[in-house]
């Protein structure tokens, strides 16, 4: 939302920039009502210092006050958004005063040309009063507009914050949903059942990997950051499960410098990419393949890579839900400071490269 510093005369001016502005006619009617009320009071006060009587003064007050109001509205309507400033306000006050004095003079039954000769004192008094009260009233309208604008901005910020949190929660939820995908659960359990009578140790190991995987999926989606080490533990448990399920068709390698193990990263960032690489890269290839996970420090950023030598990505390969989700989460979490790249491998396969700031990131 644009919030430029302005010095508008009446609320109309600033509300033009507000998205939820009231219709101008309604604004003008409200301003008129306020001005008329103020003028009724002002005429009473002037009655104490000027001669001519209450209604004589009131005619002048109303003529000048309403002229200023109208000229302000007109100047603002015609002026572009950029020149709504104190110059415009001043111009409106001067123009309004001049027109108002003429109208007021006529309304009081005096010839305006005669007035300059006959009553120079009255003219001077009217000018002085107008130039003091005009800006004061303008300022009143301005601060009112500023207050409501500030409130609107605050509301807008609140809405943006809530929608940001909503989107992040939604993205996290989708990741969790993908993690506990029924096919994965039931097929894994079936494998455990198959292994129990003949290879109980292997069955036990698989069940333990499965537990690690499930626990991580359920717990870590509630954290903002986890240690890279913990994410890699989830990845390892997943890959161990899949290596058993796919027979000899899957192998993997994790290559991470020890000093990077404690770096904080958003949870379930690498894991869905690994799953994607298995499901869409290696598994569809009859002879299978391997997956390499790498983490390096590159120009102060953490670079995470998931590389596979599977069937690769063709121009019409579906873009995985996981990939879109991670892209969205990276954007939300790092405000565009993180990058997500998909690179084809030679001779086949694909590499996903995430580059994220080493710091905890803007949105914790």
């Amino acid at each position: 939302m644009t919030r430029s510093v302005q010095y508008p005369v009446f609320s109309e001016c600033s509300s033009r920039k507000r998205r939820t502005s009231r219709p101008p006619i309604k604004n003008m009617a409200r301003d008129f009502a306020i001005v008329i009320t103020l003028m009724l009071v002002l005429a009473g006060l002037l009655n104490l210092v000027l001669e001519g009587g209450y209604f004589f003064n009131l005619r002048y007050c109303l003529a000048i006050g309403l002229s200023i109001t109208i000229s302000s509205h007109f100047l603002m309507q015609w002026g572009s958004a950029d020149n709504l400033n104190w110059q415009t306000s001043l111009a409106a006050i001067l123009l309004g005063t001049a027109i108002g004095i003429v109208i007021g003079t006529v309304a009081n039954g005096i010839n305006p040309i005669v007035m300059i000769e006959k009553y120079p004192g009255l003219l001077l008094a009217l000018l002085v009063v107008s130039l003091i009260c005009g800006p004061a009233i303008s300022y009143f309208f301005y601060s009112q507009a500023a207050i409501s604008e500030a409130a609107a901005a605050l509301r807008q910020e609140e809405i943006e914050r809530i929608s940001y949190e909503q989107r992040l929660t939604e993205a996290n939820f989708k990741i969790l949903q993908a993690q506990i995908e029924p096919h994965f659960l039931f097929n894994t359990l079936s494998n455990v059942l198959s292994l129990i009578p003949t290879q109980p140790d292997k069955a036990g190991q698989m069940l333990s990997d499965f537990t690690t995987y499930l626990r991580a999926s359920l717990q870590q989606t509630r954290c903002d950051r986890i240690r890279l080490e913990d994410e890699l533990a989830t990845v390892r448990s997943f890959l161990d499960i899949m290596a058993v399920r796919m027979g000899n068709r899957l192998s993997y390698h994790i290559d991470v410098q020890p000093e990077l193990l404690s770096v904080p990263v958003p949870p379930l960032l690498i894991q869905p990419l690994v799953e994607n690489a298995v499901e869409h890269g290696v598994d569809p290839k009859p002879e299978g393949g391997s997956i390499t996970i790498r983490a390096v420090l590159s120009e102060g950023m953490l670079q995470l890579e998931v590389r596979d030598n599977g069937i690769g990505i063709t121009s019409s390969s579906p873009v995985g839900v996981g990939m879109n989700n991670i892209r969205e989460r990276l954007n939300l979490i790092y405000n565009g400071e993180a990058s997500f790249q998909v690179l084809p491998n030679s001779p086949h396969g694909a590499t996903i490269r995430l580059t994220i700031p080493m710091t905890a990131g803007g949105n914790l």
Partner: protein, 254 residues
């Protein structure tokens, strides 16, 4: 074809996961000792070869397999043997199977459920296998994506080739022999002409709005009408795009 009622019945198990073949084989051995498992296959191509060679009475088919799915495999098998589908979780398929009274098993397969299947198979073995093709055609239609649209662009940058999902692109703009691929972060160049892109992109998600531009519909923030025609304001972009006269129908209220 005679159903060899005098001989031991034979079956083949098709599942891409070896341990699951072993498990089903073991379970069948205790449920139906006379059944001879003549082979296991880990993908559909292997299975087709074995089915042709061995002519089994029953085929247990996993639905989700890389390459050809169990459903496609079943349509190739036709009525040459009795089919039992095995799946971990396929809501729609299971519902369809229920309605069509086709036998199916859910993984992990329970002994009790398997006994029911075995009893049913034993009763049906002397009959010809039912024709599943209408059901399979319907399910395949549901599962397979309609048309394969362009999803990835190959973009070269320095020495790297990068794959960019089309949904990352806000708009494409023709520029001499090249096409500019523009999003809020970058402006890249590809050689594919706009006309070719237009044919390959999903017309629901991407609109040709001008002789020289294609825009991602979701990237449009506002459409304004002025003297010159329609102008598009995109999210996160200062620049506006104008809509060519012959494309304004896209923005008419429907």
């Amino acid at each position: 074809m005679s159903r060899r009622a005098d001989k031991r019945p034979t079956a083949i198990i098709v599942d891409d996961e070896p341990h699951l073949c072993v498990l089903l084989k073991r379970q069948l051995a205790s449920c139906w000792p006379e059944l001879l498992i003549s082979a296991e296959a880990h993908n559909a191509a292997e299975a087709l070869q074995l089915l042709d060679d061995l002519q089994p009475d029953v085929a247990f088919l996993d639905i989700r397999m890389p390459g050809m799915s169990g459903l496609e495999l079943a349509s190739r098998i036709g009525t040459s043997c009795h089919i039992v589908f095995v799946t971990a979780y396929d809501q729609y398929a299971v519902q369809a199977f229920e309605n069509a009274a086709v036998d199916y098993l859910l993984k992990p397969v329970s002994g009790e459920r398997l006994s029911t299947t075995v009893a049913r198979l034993q009763a049906h073995l002397s009959h010809n296998p039912p024709d599943l093709s209408p059901l399979i055609a319907q399910l395949t239609e549901q599962i397979r994506p309609k048309k394969q649209y362009l999803q990835w662009l190959q973009v070269s940058q320095h020495n790297d080739i990068e794959l960019v999902p089309v949904d990352e692109v806000d708009y494409f703009q023709a520029s001499d022999k090249y096409t500019l691929v523009i999003n809020r972060k970058s402006e890249r160049v590809i050689r594919t002409p706009l006309k070719e892109l237009e044919d390959e992109l999903d017309p629901e998600r991407f609109w040709r709005i001008h002789r020289n531009a294609i825009v991602r519909v979701a990237a449009i923030a506002r459409v304004t009408r002025d003297f010159g025609g329609l102008t598009l304001q995109l999210h996160h972009h200062e620049k506006t795009l104008s809509v060519g006269r012959s494309y304004t129908h896209l923005f008419r209220q429907r």
